[in-house]
């Protein structure tokens, strides 16, 4: 996207598109996506970085998140875009300012000014840690995930329940030591929630629910390279 220009008190600033990468951990996993946007806006305000506000009747900080994370999940590689209006500001200083005002459960990892468009996101990696996973259940899970077709019902946006095959959306998996690593399709309305995979497994194999936690560990492009 070409940089837009904005006139502020007579001076013309170039808007700078910035991408920040962060981890959302610990107590922050209980913060929903909607609450997360409000939280980010407050951190940004506190940090006093010169952020760009939208120019409508209801002006608000412009923010764009890569893949909204479900309530209860941790994210170790979360991505958010915003715009700066100060062209003399080093982005490293911007990162430091954000770090300074953040509570411990959010960790800002890096900041970039050159990055790929969000639409190039193709896959995401999740790690699911089970409270216990017996050898028998692990075997069943492994067999289940190798099936050519996994039909499960999903509630659509209008409340309609439709049947979808999620097997093609499972790129790869790995099971070891009570934990399951999944690489699933993501982005471009192709995002698969890992809980859906496990729900389908528990139902199909008639296994009682086992408690597990979910971490999204990485986001990839089509070539399975780290998305930046």
């Amino acid at each position: 996207m070409p940089d837009a220009e904005l006139a502020v008190t007579g001076r013309v600033f170039a808007l700078r598109n910035i991408r920040i990468y962060f981890a959302k951990k610990g107590r922050l996993k209980f913060v929903s996506h909607l609450d997360m946007t409000r939280f980010m806006a407050r951190i940004i305000t506190k940090s006093k970085i010169s952020i760009w506000y939208t120019e409508g009747f209801n002006q608000h900080i412009y923010m764009n998140f890569a893949l909204p994370l479900s309530l209860g999940y941790e994210g170790l590689y979360e991505i958010m875009d915003f715009r700066l209006i100060d062209d003399n500001y080093s982005i490293e200083d911007c990162l430091e300012s954000l770090k300074k005002v953040s509570p411990p459960d959010i960790e800002f990892l890096k900041i970039r000014e050159n990055f790929a468009p969000m639409k190039e996101i193709a896959f995401a990696e999740y790690i699911m840690d089970f409270e216990t996973l017996s050898d028998e259940a692990a075997l069943k899970l492994s067999e289940f995930l190798k099936r050519e077709s996994i039909i499960c019902s999903k509630k659509g946006k209008k409340g309609k329940i439709r049947e979808i095959d999620i097997a093609p959306k499972i790129k790869s998996f790995n099971i070891e030591n009570n934990s399951l690593k999944l690489i699933l399709t993501a982005g471009n309305e192709n995002t698969l929630n890992p809980s859906l995979v496990l729900d389908a497994f528990f139902e199909a194999c008639e296994i009682p629910q086992i408690f597990y936690t979910v971490k999204r560990t990485m986001v990839f492009n089509e070539k399975l390279e780290e998305f930046e």
Binding site: G26, F30, D35, R42, I43, Y53, Q59, L71, P103
Partner: protein
């Protein structure tokens, strides 16, 4: 408890953000370096408690001290309570997730009577015996403050010590005394006796209450040399008083999700039904500079994009115009919006009006409280019909098409004519709208009338008055409904059974402690939530104690009778309240504090509006 252990449970309940802690600006300390741990409890949900300014002030103030760690505790909602009980999770504080039964202080702020059962439920969830007498050790001490504490008798058996009035100074004095007594290995009784000598501290177990045969109070006798009357504490100089530089900013949306800047305490008006108007006297203002500095600091430290001015009546702030001018100098540029609750704009300059024009308006609301001028004079509410109509007219011209009016039903001396007056006032507003040729084109007008039920409260001139019976409340509600003949007016009521119980507990005495415990055992909690309130359980609780709610709610007290709260001194004298009660019966108004001093007694502190030069 570690967050890892807790998360399994949190993932199964609604809004886990209520219980997770870890918000921006929440205070974490090294507990090995702490002398006093204070669990600050709000007996309602997180969203309500986190909106409360008093808690924010004391939380920050206590935590300024290196030897104190103050943490927040809220009433868990029904779903999480069930999980806690099933899995033996004791009530914990949000910051450390440590069980509060091991704390030095468990402090409650009591904002409304209907939260009392939640206090008992929280003590039980904490694993702490409910009754003060059953807690033998020095800690945990159960303490309480807040407006309800001006008649703490219905909860006197559960709380070790009450803070009367404003807490900023007295709370810390008590904590310091506690530190000393804990170190010296003194007993709970020794500590309570010593604490009772601090001004503003009421230790109910040091007072013996006896009753006459008819149920009235015979005498309140101090024991162990406790003071005969206990005077509330106030902060004399508001510019020098502590105010937080930051608030804990919640992750989830709360009721008042914004920065709040206090501008003054007390109210000059003296509306005779209003407890807040009397118990917070005298009026003490902060200066324009202090408010401006504190407000700016709060916005910077919280990241909030909205700030609201807080007081009982914003328009009565003596420097409102210079204040708004100062605030507007920086709020817009910082994308901060200013919320101005209950602001009367009649006498503002055109220039200022122009500046605040774009401030987001919360809709147009009035609180005439009563339907006729006669009854408004009885309650000393200085709003006239002409004022309401002319303000509505200005608002309609400015494009508004809806108005909200607040009234009270069951006020002393109220007749059906006064109720009809409510409907008539609504009708007059509707008529005026349609008589205006310049009204907004093609838009209908809507007047919503919201009616609550009058509850006589301690330390008001109406403290002697009976509340009308529940049956009479319903009759009057029905009558009022029948007076409204247009669909342009909508009518809503406050639930009559809740008001009735509130009436009983507001003016009740110590015998209600047993009723409260019975109600709690019957499963009453979150009584201010309609989905939880169950009148039957409450009536059963009264019956088990051999009492009736009617006795307390519907009783008329004579001027010379001993009231359950007479040994507490809130700086307004009983003689003044009697005099005001007499004037009410004659429909005579009393001027506000700035017009003419009415001699209520609040000048005893030597500060505030009583000493302003007019």
């Amino acid at each position: 408890m570690e967050i890892k252990e807790l998360e399994k449970f949190l993932l199964s309940v609604q809004k886990p953000g209520r219980y997770s802690g870890g918000e921006i600006n929440s205070v974490i300390k090294d507990k090995s370096k702490i002398d006093v741990r204070f669990a600050f409890c709000f007996p309602d949900t997180y969203e309500i408690g986190m909106s409360h300014l008093g808690m924010k002030i004391l939380y920050s103030q206590f935590n300024q001290r290196d030897d104190i760690w103050c943490e927040r505790v809220f009433a868990p909602w029904l779903d999480f309570e069930e999980v806690m009980r099933k899995n033996n999770i004791p009530l914990f504080a949000l910051e450390s997730r440590d069980p509060i039964k091991d704390f030095d202080f468990i402090g409650f702020t009591l904002q409304y009577e209907m939260s009392y059962t939640n206090m008992l439920n929280m003590l039980d969830l904490a694993g702490v015996p409910l009754r003060s007498a059953d807690r033998k050790d020095l800690s945990p001490l159960v303490v309480a403050g807040g407006p309800c504490v001006c008649n703490p008798e219905p909860i006197a058996d559960f709380v070790d010590l009450f803070f009367l009035g404003e807490g900023e100074e007295v709370d810390l004095e008590v904590i310091d005394l506690y530190k000393e007594y804990k170190k010296a290995g003194k007993s709970k009784l020794e500590f309570l006796i010593a604490a009772s000598k601090i001004e503003g501290v009421y230790v109910p177990s040091l007072y013996d209450v006896s009753y006459n045969g008819d149920g009235s109070i015979k005498a309140v006798t101090p024991l162990h040399d406790a003071p005969k009357t206990i005077r509330k504490r106030i902060i004399k100089d508001m510019d020098k008083s502590y105010y937080p530089e930051s608030f804990v900013v919640p992750f989830i949306e709360i009721v008042h999700d914004r920065a709040v800047q206090e501008i003054f305490r007390g109210c000059i008006r003296g509306c005779r039904f209003c407890q807040a108007g009397f118990i917070y006297r005298p009026v003490r203002e902060k200066s324009v500079d202090t408010i401006n500095r504190q407000a700016k600091c709060l916005c910077e430290n919280t990241g909030y994009d909205e700030i609201s001015l807080s007081s009982l009546s914003t328009s009565d702030y003596s420097g409102i115009e210079p204040l708004l001018n100062k605030l507007l100098e920086w709020t817009d540029d910082n994308h901060v919006s200013l919320a101005l609750p209950s602001l009367r704009i009649d006498n503002f300059s055109d220039e200022l009006l122009d500046k605040i024009k774009h401030i987001r308006k919360n809709g147009l609301t009035f609180a005439p409280e009563a339907g006729t001028q006669r009854l408004r004079d009885v309650i000393n509410k200085n709003v006239t019909e002409e004022e309401i109509l002319s303000t509505c007219k200005t608002a309609f011209l400015g494009g508004y098409t809806s108005v909200k009016l607040y009234f009270m039903l069951g006020l002393p001396t109220e007749t059906d004519e006064d109720l009809k007056g409510i409907a008539d006032l609504g009708q007059k507003i509707v008529n005026m709208y349609y008589d205006m040729p310049e009204r907004p084109k093609g838009k209908s007008v809507s007047v919503s009338i919201s009616v609550s039920t009058f509850v006589p409260k301690p330390f008001t001139p109406f403290q002697f008055e009976p509340q009308i019976t529940e049956a009479e409340m319903r009759r009057r509600q029905e009558y009022l409904k029948s007076c409204i003949t247009t669909k342009k007016i909508s009518l809503s009521y406050h639930d009559s059974s809740t008001s009735f119980l509130e009436g009983a507990f507001a003016r009740g005495d110590r015998r209600l402690c047993g009723v409260l415990e019975n109600a709690y055992k019957n499963g009453c909690k979150f009584d201010s939530w309609t989905e939880c309130f169950d009148l039957e359980k409450w009536l059963d609780a009264f019956e088990k104690s051999g009492l009736t709610a009617e006795y307390f709610a519907n009783k008329e007290y004579s001027y010379d009778e001993i009231l359950a709260w007479d040994h507490l001194d809130y700086a307004v004298s009983k003689n003044f309240l009697i005099n005001e009660n007499r004037k009410a019966k004659e429909a005579k108004t009393t001027q506000n504090c700035r017009e003419k001093c009415a001699g209520c007694g609040a000048s005893c502190y030597g500060e505030g509006v009583c000493f302003e030069k007019h």
